[in-house]
Amino acid sequence: MSRAQRLVIDRIACTGHGLCAELFPEHLALDEWGYPIQAPGPIPAGTTRHARRAVAACPALALKLAPAAAAQHPQNPQNRSDPANAVRKYR
């Protein structure tokens, strides 16, 4: 049994080809411009094959899988705004 995994998107490398959402629709959708919108949290159980397929197919090499725990970095000291205050608070 493998541990929970998280899909990490390199937003600078990503150029919006959109293959990932086609190959891994359980976790990814595309915005109006073809850039991925990621569901929160780790990838759903049982979708590792689809996730790997998306990672391998990305022409920009912008995707990777990481252990879910390790991907939850302590708050980045360089972040200029506090991510604890998400937009959702206003919804």
């Binding site: 937003r11 000291p77 360089q78 200029r80 937009v87 206003y90």
Partner: protein, 450 residues
Amino acid sequence: MTTDTYTAGRRGYGRHPGPPRPPEGPYGERLFAGWMTTGRPADLAEHLARYGAPPSFAARGKHVLIEAVARAGLTGRGGAAFPTATKLRAVARAKRPERVVVANGMESEPAASKDKALLRLAPHLVLDGIALAAEAVGAAEAYLCVAEKRMLRDLRELIAERRAHGIDSVEVQVCTPPHHYVSSEASALVNWIGGGEARPTTTPPRTAERGVAGLPTLVDNVETLAHLALIARYGPDWFRSRGTAESPGTTLVTLSGATPGPGVYEVAYGTPLREVVSLGGAAHDVQAVLVGGYFGTWLPAGQAAALEYSGRGLAAVGATPGAGVLAALPSTSCGLAETARVLEYLASQSARQCGPCRFGLPAAAEDFAQLAFGHCDRGTRERLEHRVALLAGRGACKHPDGASRLAASALHTFAHEVRRHLAAGPCPAALQAPPLLPAPTAAIGDGDWR
């Protein structure tokens, strides 16, 4: 740009009772203590007479200062309020022996002038902080980044004078990276100093792991370093004698908008926001307050006034002190128009690296402008909300998150205005009131990041 802080602050004086003040300018008890006493920037002799030379921690071990900063509870004053000791420790414990300190005095927030005021009035506190931080993390290389070329010569002279007096063991290089909104982000700064472009890079790795030229790098705001210089002298208990248990110490605030005394004020965390705003004199007819800066939050005036100015006090309503900006919006202005102009500015400031920031942010800004200045239908408004929500968490840096937060808070706080604009088009204030928040319009070319 904003009105000059030093002359603008003058108008606030004499209008209300309080402690005796110098004839003009910013006000504060710690970082601005010298200014409050003499009314002029502190030169080296005056600085040394007031504070003494920065203490050396060589004999006590460099961790002593880091532990003092930890006990003081100092947090970053650049916007993120990250615990300073955590960053110091990360760099001090890095495997690579060569380390770098970068003092961030860029102050890219157009509505902020606190860092510029501090660098002008108490530059030696900042330089002390750089030297002390460099000693604490074991850095032999230090940079002070400022926005304005005209500050270079003065600062270099001060540094040379300190070297001549044997005060600093580290040589501080003053530099002026490109002055765009996202260029003062830590990864952008270290990238530029290392010879690259002043654009944010993907994190992790954080600068504490890989910064200037790949070396472990401490990037701290200049105000943070000035506080550190005082903690080094007077200790954590002294630092905690002002502020709250969760947000100790004082902090610099740039007050602007509907106030008789715009300018920079040093306040203790925990001061009621109403009192902070009234430091500039009796503000009246305020409908809302922008708290934090252009990554910040619009709050209705009544709600804002009742809050405690601190991380915890503002968190209750989803806001943060951010970069210390407080802008009071008069009832004669339109909050939607102000936000639309700021969003257009933020969109123009994108490093154009990540899709959501490159396409989503300008699109959201256009929808917002339509709402503020044009005739907006329900569909456009729903698309705007959707686009705003989709900005958060989808960039290499937090630029889109900040813009998203600002836009969402405007839609919430000015909900009544939104309905009016939807029903009847732009209000007279949107079309006629002069812009309150500065939004420089210079476009950034591809070559402007070097």
